[in-house]
């Protein structure tokens, strides 16, 4: 008898979490094979037809595993992975942008950063979708892109404010407070909004993949 499990997962190192899924899909292929045989197909023809169906099942196995997984794993895969990978690139890009365009007027620099942020939001959301992310996951993945910068600046703000308050309260209100507000507005709020806009563009361009199950697959 043929090993239908090998058809479902030929090259994959068997993931324990996928075992049950592979077993179930292999059962399905076995039923298909037996039906072909009952209808008079030769062993070779029946197996070739079933093999053709089995070859396309790799992405399905992965999707089913994702469907089975709990909330934390989904977040890890569809939010943290794309978000943090792109956060690294974003930090580098932000730094490079600062080096390249430090002489430009402030508004021009911030417009450049906003455009870059839209692009990163789009990429993070699309990446998350490829990893099985849904609408919320995709939005979070895009928001996390700015996390490194936000954390760094929040640490700076929360360390600087108390220290400066202790040293010189007047200096804080005259110089530091407007500067901090500017940092928050230009470095956090604007790029965050641009990231969300990028994510929304991605969601419009690539609607959710896993949930849309068509009513008719192939009209007879």
């Amino acid at each position: 008898m043929h090993d239908f499990r090998k058809l479902v997962a030929p090259d994959r190192k068997q993931n324990p979490r996928e075992r049950e899924i592979v077993d179930e899909l292999a059962c399905h292929l076995e039923e298909m094979y037996m039906r072909f045989r009952r209808n008079g197909a030769s062993e070779k023809t029946a197996f070739a037809a079933v093999s053709a169906a089995g070859k396309r099942l790799g992405p399905t196995v992965r999707k089913l595993r994702w469907e089975q997984e709990g909330g934390f794993r989904t977040w890890l895969r569809a939010v943290l992975v794309p978000g943090l990978v792109l956060a690294c690139f974003y930090a580098v890009c932000n730094f490079a942008l600062g080096v390249v365009s430090w002489q430009n007027p402030t508004l021009r620099r911030e417009a450049d950063l906003a455009l870059v942020s839209v692009a990163f939001g789009f990429c993070a959301s699309s990446f998350s979708r490829e990893l099985g992310g849904r609408t919320t996951h995709r939005l979070w993945a895009s928001a996390i892109v700015i996390s490194f910068q936000a954390i760094a600046e929040c640490i700076m703000i929360f360390l600087v404010i108390p220290m400066e308050l202790i040293r010189n309260a007047q200096y804080f209100s005259e110089v530091l407070a407007p500067a901090l507000l500017r940092i928050l507005l230009w470095d956090i709020v604007t790029p965050a909004m641009a990231l969300v806009i990028g994510s929304l563009i991605s969601m419009y361009a690539f609607p959710p993949a896993l949930r849309a199950v068509p009513l008719t697959e192939t009209p007879a």
Partner: protein
């Protein structure tokens, strides 16, 4: 019936599967075959869309699955409705009836 679109598409597989399983417990292949036979071959669910729909409904708690070995010694994973799943059938059917009636009124399907 607001917010149609992909929710309708998703609901289409759900209402079909829930209705079939309300009659008896079936395994995945049997569900696919039943859909094809009852619709005279018009509706065909490939494995890549049938199983994600089943797993999604398992996750929602509408179905439960169990493995059973047939007298011939073949293991199959059967699906059956839960109480929660049974409760979903009526509202889903109602939404679909409304949708099809509206579609019929607008697109005049009965004249096709």
């Amino acid at each position: 019936m607001s917010g149609l679109g992909f929710k309708v598409k998703q609901g289409s597989s759900e209402v079909i599967i829930l209705t079939l399983l309300s009659q008896r417990e079936m395994h995945g292949y049997e569900i696919g075959k039943q859909i094809e036979e009852l619709s005279d071959g018009v509706l065909r669910f490939e494995m890549a869309s049938l199983y994600p729909a089943l797993y999604r409904m398992l996750k929602k708690g509408w179905l439960e699955a169990y493995w059973e070995t047939s007298p011939a010694g073949r293991k199959r994973r059967y699906y059956r409705l839960t109480k929660n799943g049974r409760r979903q059938i009526r509202p889903l059917r109602k939404s679909w009836r409304q949708f099809l009636e509206a579609l019929n009124r607008v697109a005049r399907l009965h004249n096709a």
